[in-house]
């Protein structure tokens, strides 16, 4: 329980990290055919909110995250962060990939420090931030380890530290635990919840795992494919940290799973499942 004091990490003084997506459309050209990946995606995310996005493969979830990260600028619609239009990548928007993508020729410490390369900070200030964030993800003592020496779970923690070391307003997580074994995944979900609570950052997580989506998310956005769109949004309405055994979580999980495993339906014909929970 050697948690780092959140005081050094929180940006809670000002309510930043509010993300707005309006009318996002994205298509890929496949020879003569046009493939609609996202069609008219609208979403407002509040500062400090945790939003999970679930949906079948090919519903455009990962594409959506790349657009928000600024890795892909060719789309219709508007994405704004705190009122500012998103263009290109920015240190305000962190991204954790499904595979850790640590640089194999750098130690854990150097990998985390990489994110600070172009920050106008002193060497000492950078070293302090790096050490704090390595401790935050529970990897103290592994600073000099090479990525190949880390387990899958440890490597993913390191990737989270690298993404958080810039203290981004928004952290985007693209199936961050998808490649991990079930036990490690459960453990890291709990850790991520703790990190989110202490960092105060807005987080958007893509996942295949409905249970993970509900356990972590303030809201769960359910998407469908062909074309990629939101079918509905579920307010989980439970405070954090959460109890995995909560009957509310289980009921929600069953409902969303039923929704996702049913044959695809037209977007317009879907009725929100839990009207009573809307505010």
């Amino acid at each position: 329980m050697d948690y780092v004091s959140p005081a050094t990490l929180t940006a809670s003084t000002k309510p930043t990290g509010s993300l707005t997506l309006k009318g996002i459309r994205k298509q890929f050209q496949f020879k003569d055919r046009e493939l609609k990946v996202l069609s008219g995606f609208d979403l407002n995310i509040n500062p400090g909110e945790f939003v999970s996005i679930v949906g079948p493969s090919g519903c455009g979830k990962s594409t959506l995250l790349r657009l928000i990260a600024g890795l892909d600028d060719s789309y219709e619609g508007v994405i704004t962060l705190d009122g500012q239009r998103v263009a290109g990548t920015s240190l305000e928007r962190g991204l954790v990939f499904q595979d850790h993508r640590l640089f194999p020729w750098m130690t854990l410490e150097q990998n985390v420090a990489l994110a600070l390369t172009n920050r106008p900070l002193s060497k000492a200030a950078k070293a302090k931030l790096v050490a704090e964030h390595i401790a935050l993800v529970g990897l103290k003592g592994f600073e000099k380890a090479w990525p190949h020496q880390l387990s899958g779970g440890m490597a993913q923690r390191a990737a989270i530290a690298r993404a958080l070391v810039n203290e981004p307003k928004v952290l985007l997580l693209d199936e961050p635990f998808g490649a991990l074994d079930a036990l490690t995944r459960v453990h890291l979900q709990t850790e991520l919840q703790r990190i989110w609570l202490s960092s105060g950052a807005t987080m958007i997580m893509i996942t295949h795992d409905v249970e993970e989506a509900i356990y972590l998310g303030d809201r769960v956005v359910v998407m469908q494919a062909n074309p990629g769109r939101i079918v509905h949004t579920v307010d989980v309405g439970l405070s954090h940290p959460r109890d995995r055994a909560s009957p509310v979580l289980h009921r929600l999980k069953d409902e969303i799973l039923a929704e996702l495993t049913n044959p695809p339906v037209e977007a317009s014909s879907v009725v929100p499942l839990r009207k009573d929970q809307d505010q």
């Binding site: 990260a69 890795l71 990548t89 920015s90 240190l91 962190g94 991204l95 990939f97 595979d99 993508r101 640089f103 194999p104 020729w105 750098m106 130690t107 990489l114 994110a115 390369t117 172009n118 090479w146 990525p147 190949h148 020496q149 810039n166």
Partner: protein, 258 residues
């Protein structure tokens, strides 16, 4: 401690076949049968070693071969890395040089001997060209491929952290290429030793282990031939060990088995 003992034993096991082979060899040499002239006794080999060593023949030949191999590695390695880097970094250079490189590479190194012999004679210059060529091919290939195979997923990371193209080159493309460049150089080192001996055997004039072997064979001095073979083999083992040690040191970040 117990493991250490077992490893010592395993190492000893590896000594059994060569010792058996030597005993069999020595036995054959002493038989005096129809094939006795193609075997020489261990005593004769030791004698030849002493003889060539004290006359300076062996050390001179050895020094000549080693110098040739490393000069070839140096020249071929520098040229190869440069050409490979130009091809990997600049598309027009790649388009211009790739076809000719690929077709030249199809000719085995020693296949160039007759042509180079005709053009430049069979002196040290021609030998050096062949040896340098054997270092040139692998270094071009591995440098080029190393720079080409830039991992797009890691380049995405460098975009997320807003690295400049220059930073991205030094932190992503260059280290990724370095592994490949070293692999190429290590391969070149092994190739240069083989081609040095080969070219000395075929262009027998001048100094070198290969030349010494060739003239010993002509004089039916099988004992000297065996001494040369031993030195060629031992050097090969030494170079391999050197390569392994170097790559483990330089590329510690790789998941190598130690």
């Amino acid at each position: 401690m117990k493991i250490l003992k077992t490893q010592n034993l395993v190492w000893l096991l590896g000594l059994i076949p060569p010792v058996l082979f030597l005993l069999w060899w020595d036995h054959q040499a002493k038989q005096g049968g129809t094939n006795a002239h193609i075997y020489v006794s261990l005593a004769q080999i030791v004698g030849a070693l002493r003889e060539t060593f004290s006359s300076g023949e062996l050390t001179g030949a050895y020094a000549a071969s080693i110098t040739r191999a490393f000069s070839g590695l140096f020249i071929g390695g520098i040229l190869g890395t440069t050409v490979g880097a130009l091809m990997g970094l600049f598309k027009p250079v790649e388009w211009a040089l790739q076809p000719i490189y690929n077709s030249f590479r199809q000719v085995p190194i020693l296949g160039w001997l007759p042509l180079i012999g005709l053009w430049f004679g069979s002196g040290d210059g021609s030998k050096l060209i062949i040896v340098a060529l054997s270092a040139f091919y692998p270094t071009v290939l591995f440098t080029f491929e190393g720079l080409k195979q830039a991992d797009t997923s890691l380049l995405d990371v460098s975009r997320v952290y807003r690295l400049t193209p220059w930073q991205s080159f030094w932190k992503v493309r260059w280290p990724a290429a370095l592994l490949s460049i070293f692999t190429g150089l290590f391969q070149a080192l092994a190739f240069t030793w083989i081609s040095t001996i080969g070219v000395e055997l075929l262009f027998a004039s001048g100094f070198g282990l290969g030349s010494l072997m060739q003239s010993a064979q002509l004089q039916a001095r099988l004992d000297i031939v065996v001494v040369c073979v031993l030195f060629v083999g031992l050097t090969g083992i030494l170079l391999n060990t050197l390569i392994r040690q170097l790559s483990q040191r330089l590329l510690a970040w790789r998941s190598v088995r130690t």
